[in-house]
């Protein structure tokens, strides 16, 4: 009979206690691993939703005249020629970038009606609404020869859905009103690109093209040489902002996982110390029949090894499946089963270490007591 045998027999003789120890390990490892996996999934989800949000690359005409307005206010009433992007620009972008980017080209111009000067924006609504979820149209999305007006314009000119606006050249019905955005859009008249072209007289060119892409730096670098007449710029506010948010989430989840790990280790230490404490008498018996300190330490070390290995493996496997069940409940359907081997091995190694130390230290302390005292222990 080897020490291995004794260790195994010990565990088998008290199935309740062994199960309790294994379950403690399993529970803690499962909690930490499922939390980490959930956090990873949530981080990806956050990254994805932030990346898809807003225009992160802007293509504007390169002018030698400087813009003289800020925050929707202008300092000069001088009429100057607004430069435009070449009509081929959109095709060039499509050819280079393909389907993976959302391309939202715009035609922006003015039309003088008998009473008022209107800013007309022709946009591709399918693309535009994808990258601007804050554009909320109360009513319908306009088709050709229909318009939507900004909230400020609607309020100032007392316009409602169903009204017909006379632009001089043509009359179009209002099919929707855009909810207040706080931006300069609130003054605009929105319509399809074709209608905007006929209203403003901008026949083939584009005023501005906004893109949403996954890798802004790469997109900007690829497009800049192809469009020498345009400025291709990353919108740093959005790019930096989403990067910072994602980083913050990562550090948040790391801090929590670390704290959970520490708490888990503490729980294991307390549980194992209690276990050894209950077995002080057993230790005394082993000493009395002639076991050496070394043997007893090895014996308990083996036990700790078996228990923590079984517990952490069980916990790791359970932890892999928990996110698959909890994820959809929280509204994330993107969890795919993956083995997370790095995480698993880190957790198993950590539990082995914690288990060994937590078991051997109290044993070693008990061994240093006088044998007589130990055997008196009930």
């Amino acid at each position: 009979m080897t020490l291995n045998h004794i260790a195994l027999q010990n565990l088998r003789r008290r199935p309740g206690k062994t199960l309790f120890l294994v379950l403690t390990f399993a529970f803690i490892v499962a909690t930490i691993s499922s939390l980490t996996i959930l956090a990873l999934g949530m981080k990806e989800d956050l990254q994805k939703s932030l990346t898809e949000y807003g225009a992160n690359v802007v293509i504007s005409p390169r002018t030698e005249q400087l813009n003289l307005s800020y925050g929707g206010l202008s300092v000069s009433s001088v009429e100057y020629e607004v430069k435009k992007l070449d009509s081929k620009t959109v095709d060039v972008i499509y050819r280079q970038m393909g389907e993976e980017v959302t391309i939202a080209p715009k035609v922006i111009g003015s039309i003088q009606s008998p009473e008022k000067l209107y800013m007309v924006m022709g946009v591709d609504f399918d693309q535009e609404l994808k990258i601007k979820p804050w554009w909320k149209i109360d009513g319908k999305v306009p088709k050709d020869n229909e318009i939507v007006v900004g909230s400020q314009l609607a309020m100032n000119s007392n316009l409602q859905v169903g009204d017909i606006v006379d632009f001089g050249k043509a009359k179009y019905p209002i099919v929707g009103i855009m909810a207040e955005t706080g931006g300069s859009e609130d003054q605009g008249v929105f319509t399809t690109i074709d209608t905007a072209r006929s209203l403003t007289g901008i026949t083939t060119e584009w005023s501005l093209i906004e893109l949403n892409t996954l890798d802004t730096a790469q997109t900007a670098a690829q497009l800049s040489p192809l469009l020498p007449e345009a400025n291709v710029t990353e919108v740093t506010q959005i790019v930096q902002g989403s990067k910072e948010s994602v980083e913050r989430f990562t550090s948040f989840s790391w801090t929590i996982s670390l704290a959970m790990g520490l708490i888990g280790a503490l729980v294991i230490i307390v549980t194992l110390a209690g276990n050894v404490n209950d077995r002080a008498r057993e230790l005394g018996v082993l000493r009395a029949i002639g076991f050496r300190q070394k043997h007893i330490l090895t014996l308990f070390g083996r036990e700790a090894l078996i228990v923590s290995l079984a517990g952490s493996l069980l916990g790791y496997i359970v932890g892999l499946f928990v996110p698959l069940i909890i994820g959809p409940l929280l509204g994330y359907n993107s969890f795919i089963f993956s083995t997370h081997l790095g995480l698993g091995s880190a957790l198993v190694v950590a539990s082995l270490l914690v288990g060994m130390v937590a078991m051997i230290y109290p044993v070693w302390r008990t061994l240093k007591l006088d044998l007589q005292d130990v055997l008196k222990y009930i």
């Binding site: 803690i28 690359v57 802007v58 030698e64 400087l66 005023s207 501005l208 400025n231 989840s253 959970m260």
Partner: protein
């Protein structure tokens, strides 16, 4: 000898065992309290940081509108000017603690090298705090331009061929280019010259005028709609609008943090409950033999359960109390530095009640049942339990 005396004696006799039991309750309660309070504060911290990344509120003159979008201007009209005295007025609203950064701006036109340029007068400290994503060539991070320095947008630098440290004549005064703002993708900012507000006010001969105010409002505790309404009441001359484009993505992000914090609270509550319950069960099971002895010498089941009730209540109330103190103390002292946040974890006395109730409830449920089962065993069987 009363039953309570037996309970106390029991706890005293097995000092280490009682201590370990107490310890597991303390760990359970304090970790729950610590993580719960810290994650809530972290959530607020994140919300505040996002809110201070760029402006989410814009104050413009009521009259006057310019037809421009994304830097493409199609028509203009002059708005009335605002006054710098509005800023102290803004700070008198009820929720004034939510106003994190207020950046007033004056706009003016100037001619440099025969080109018309837009001058934006700003208070550099506030403006740079608002526009954290600006990378400025020629200026160290955290450094502010001095009074006679200007910051120029990348397009201005390209068109006027300016480089850092170069001297420029604007409105008869000489300025040094303090730095060039790297392309930001916002045409307004890329094509403007930023200079000190008071200098521009003096040069324009409008000592108190401003054109617009950009502000960052913290909306974790107070919805931005409320702040907008409060500001509108104080500033009848101006139009106060919240920028929906920044608010929507903020809500998404904060929601994600909030959800994660909630998941953690729930997981931790379950884990702590489990740990406390497990230690209780094993502590009671060990004493099956004791129960046998007590039964053998004539104690009633009722007495034995009562004895456990006293013991468990004592340990769990004490554990809950110490756990709360430890968790709350750690969170208040180390929580914010551990999570690298600026928000301090506040003292939440109500949690002491929850801590004690939870510890007591879980311990009682977990201990009374095995104790009751042990009392039902034949004393002879119970005595054989090892």
């Amino acid at each position: 000898m009363k039953i309570l005396d037996i309970s106390l004696g029991n706890l005293k006799r097995r000092k280490l065992r009682s201590f370990l039991l107490l310890l597991s309750i303390i760990i359970g309660v304090s970790s729950s309290v610590f993580l719960f309070t810290t994650t809530r504060s972290m959530e607020q911290d994140v919300a505040d940081k996002i809110d201070q990344f760029g402006s989410n509120l814009l104050i413009l003159p009521k009259a006057g509108e310019t037809l421009s979008f994304g830097g493409v201007t199609v028509g203009t009209s002059f708005g009335k000017e605002l006054d710098i005295s509005m800023i102290p007025l803004m700070k008198t609203i009820k929720n004034n603690e939510t106003l994190a950064t207020i950046s007033p701006k004056l706009l003016a036109e100037a001619t440099i090298q025969d080109k018309k340029v837009l001058l934006v007068g700003v208070q550099f400290a506030d403006e740079l705090r608002l526009k954290k994503w600006w990378k400025i060539d020629g200026l160290e991070a955290g450094q502010l331009p001095v009074a006679n320095e200007i910051l120029i947008g990348s397009e201005v630098a390209r068109i006027l061929k300016l480089s850092p440290q170069q001297l420029v004549q604007i409105k008869g005064q000489e300025f040094r280019v303090g730095g060039i703002i790297q392309p930001t993708g916002s045409i307004e900012n890329d094509q403007a010259i930023f200079m000190d507000l008071t200098i521009l006010q003096k040069a324009e001969n409008k000592p108190t005028a401003i054109n617009l105010i950009e502000a960052a409002v913290l909306c974790y505790t107070c919805p931005i709609e409320d702040v907008t309404i409060q500001l509108s009441e104080k500033l009848p001359e101006a139009k106060v609008t919240a920028l929906q484009s920044t608010l929507e993505s903020r809500d998404d992000t904060v929601q994600q943090f909030s959800l994660f914090a909630t998941i953690i609270s729930v997981i931790l509550l379950i884990t702590s409950g489990f740990v406390v319950a497990m230690s209780m069960i094993s502590a009671v099971k060990e004493r099956t033999r004791d129960i046998g002895v007590l039964r053998a010498i004539g104690f009633r089941k009722k007495h034995i359960l009562c004895m456990f009730l006293y013991e468990v209540s004592l340990v769990s109330v004490l554990g809950g109390l110490i756990g709360f103190g430890l968790g709350m103390g750690l969170a208040m002292n180390f929580g914010s530095s551990l999570a690298q946040m600026t928000v301090q974890v506040p003292f939440q006395p109500i949690l002491v009640l929850y801590s004690i109730l939870a510890a007591l409830g879980i311990s009682l449920i977990a201990s009374i049942y095995p104790a009751w089962k042990a009392t039902k065993l034949d004393p002879v069987e119970a005595l054989r339990y090892f």
